[in-house]
Symmetry: C2
Subunit: 116 residues, 2 copies
């Protein structure tokens, strides 16, 4: 979890994670969306790889990156435990709502794609 917490501390790495959440992208495609140089992005990608937050997939001279949700699980659990101290049971209700909202968002996005 330590590695994950460190990895998401950088704004560029957080942006990369959001990029590869729903579609796999090559290193070049990712780098093109940032103002910093390609090698800089390449090192960010290495940090994300080594902390288990993304997976990479070689295909010829391209390397495809995609999010690895499992890599975020431990940190997420840590945060959940931290956010629910003794005597704050109403916070658990809020978290439940959060999950429900995520479920609904996913459903809506799927429907929009299908009707587009």
């Amino acid at each position: 979890m330590d590695q994950a917490a460190e990895a998401i501390a950088d704004p560029i790495r957080r942006a990369i994670l959001r990029m590869v959440r729903d579609e796999r992208l090559t290193a070049g495609e990712i780098a093109a969306r940032f103002a910093v140089s390609r090698p800089a992005v390449s090192r960010h990608l290495r940090v994300l790889r080594e902390s288990g937050l993304v997976t990479d997939d070689l295909s010829g001279r391209h390397r495809y990156y995609s999010l690895n949700p499992e890599g975020l699980a431990e940190l997420h659990r840590w945060l959940t435990a931290l956010m629910t101290p003794a005597g704050w049971e109403q916070r658990l209700d809020a978290l439940e709502t959060e999950v429900h909202r995520a479920r609904r968002d996913n459903r809506d996005n799927r429907d929009n794609r299908e009707t587009a």
Copy 2:
């Protein structure tokens, strides 16, 4: 959220957050539990304060710190959204289980305290 993500990147600050989750502690009590100097801890506390992750409460010459769960909410939502990409609906079930476990843990701890 950027500030929260940066704040939890440091292992000492993560340890502090866990310490003050269920009980308020003075700066001195917190510092005593670490190998680093008291001023170093004091600055970690400042980072946590300024990022809204803890609240402080002056009382005479003591300053009590306690966790502010709200400060973690935005980062937690960000992680939740990231962990549930399109087509991974089963992950939402896992998150729901996570909340249920937190609820149960809280209940168990409360009961243990009462019967102790």
